[in-house]
């Protein structure tokens, strides 16, 4: 009667007995894993456990009793002196503080320089359209002159250019996510149809995100900057959402989620 894909009847019986005896967590890990993954075997174990329970009339889960037993057994194992624990925690704090101090020192030497910008441009080539490059060049041209040496002016301009380019730098994970919904591909149903394009360019102080939500399902809208940091979260059950543009220009992402927080859509927003 053994089935190559499923557990044998005797294994099912053993698993059911352990489930009733609350010793299932100590059952063979491979079999537990199979039961966790195989609906058919899980169903058989559950049904046999139910039948067994009815015949013995023994409740198989009593969390309060079990927890008191567990606590007692754990208390007997705890014999490490308190001062040793305190000393090891202190050492860990000191070590991590030193580590963080050293890392910060290293990071401060890693601010991208102008020579590194070409590399960044190559990595995120798609982000830098001609319009973006032109607008960046105009930005640097229109920078007001100050009473400083030519060298200082040049360094300042370069730093500003670097900062601006960094705000348009795409985030790899967010790009992967938004690419799934590019060209209006596969927004995940739920009765919602996305109207806003997958890449939205914004040049005004506010913008709108639009979709069809015929059943007025409660939706959540999240806006992220290009470091995948959430900067705004809104709820809506209508077909549109008007948002004030962020003050900083750059690349942003938006997500639309249903009331179960399932992702319906992810798009890009270019604030210019």
């Amino acid at each position: 009667m053994d089935n190559n894909k499923h557990l044998s009847e005797e294994t099912i019986a053993l698993a059911a007995e352990s489930l009733v005896n609350t010793s299932f967590k100590n059952f063979a890990p491979t079999i537990r894993q199979h039961i966790a993954e195989c609906d058919q075997c899980a169903h058989e174990v559950q049904m046999v456990a139910e039948l067994l329970e009815e015949s013995t009339q023994k409740p198989f889960i009593n969390s309060s009793t079990n927890s008191s037993i567990d606590i007692k057994s754990l208390r007997s194992k705890r014999s490490t002196p308190a001062f040793l624990i305190a000393a090891s925690i202190s050492l860990a704090i000191i070590a991590s503080t030193i580590f963080i101090w050293i890392e910060n020192d290293k990071v401060s030497n890693k601010i991208p320089t102008l020579s590194g910008l070409n590399e960044i441009e190559n990595l995120y080539e798609r982000t830098f359209t001609q319009e973006t490059i032109d607008s960046l060049e105009n930005l640097t041209k229109n920078t007001p002159k100050k009473n400083k040496t030519k060298e200082n002016n040049s360094t300042e301009q370069n730093l500003r250019k670097e900062e601006v380019l960094l705000t348009y730098q795409a985030h790899p994970k967010m790009e992967t996510l938004s690419n799934r919904f590019k060209n209006d591909a596969a927004h995940r149903g739920f009765g919602i149809e996305i109207i806003t394009k997958s890449e939205l360019k914004v040049e005004s102080d506010k913008f709108q995100l639009n979709w069809n939500n015929p059943e007025a399902t409660p939706l959540t809208i999240e806006i992220f900057d290009n470091n995948a940091k959430k900067i705004l979260e809104l709820e809506s059950d209508s077909n549109t959402c008007e948002i004030a543009s962020p003050k900083s220009k750059g690349l942003y992402y938006w997500k639309l989620l249903d009331d179960d927080f399932e992702l319906i859509f992810c798009g890009r927003i270019l604030i210019e």
Partner: protein
Amino acid sequence: MRTTETVKNETTAFYQKDLILLSEKVVSKYAYTIPEREHEDVKMSIIEKYLIQEEKIILQFKGQAKYSTYCYAILNRICCGIIRSEIKNWQQNHDLFKESQAITLSPEEKYIIKDEMSFLSKILMTLDQPFKIIIFLAVLYRLEPKTSYINKYDFNYKKHQLLKILSKNHGSSKAKLYTAMAKLVHLVEKKIVQPDAIRMWLNKRRAQAINRLNGPFNRANYDKESFQILFENFYTK
């Protein structure tokens, strides 16, 4: 492992009247799937198939489990086989739990609810990381945290102040609930996970539990809403 003598004694003690009784119990567990008029026929089919294979069944028994439990497993599997072959011909009686709209429950309905909660607890126990699932579902449904379950997930829950993290999320948005769950995972399992990953993991486990509640033969027709009601009853009992 029991001796051959013990096993032999157990098998010979398993009289035909026990076989009829066990078959009746197995069929009654599938009352939602098997039409009432078919109960007797299914019971007789189970007994017939068992008797045909009795010698093989006894030979395959290794003596690791109790013989009665082993027989339950055999009879249950035979019954499932019969249902799979006959289900298309039967009219099914679904949603006895869901269809009940009465404000006051009859004793029968109360028994069914109790039975369902017991079934749900078994399903949850057979899933991977059952207490984590229970705690996270309780968070999602904004139920009061219970130390009995938290202790099983993390016996250091007091040190990690898990109750504090769980208690302050009652009025929070779902995003904050998942962030709190991610924080729990970080504290307890020393893993850094995104709230989104927690959401997907929990949705998958919930779907698995609903699927197992409904069973392979449409014993029920749970969806997310009815599952939440059942879980709340189970959790707060």
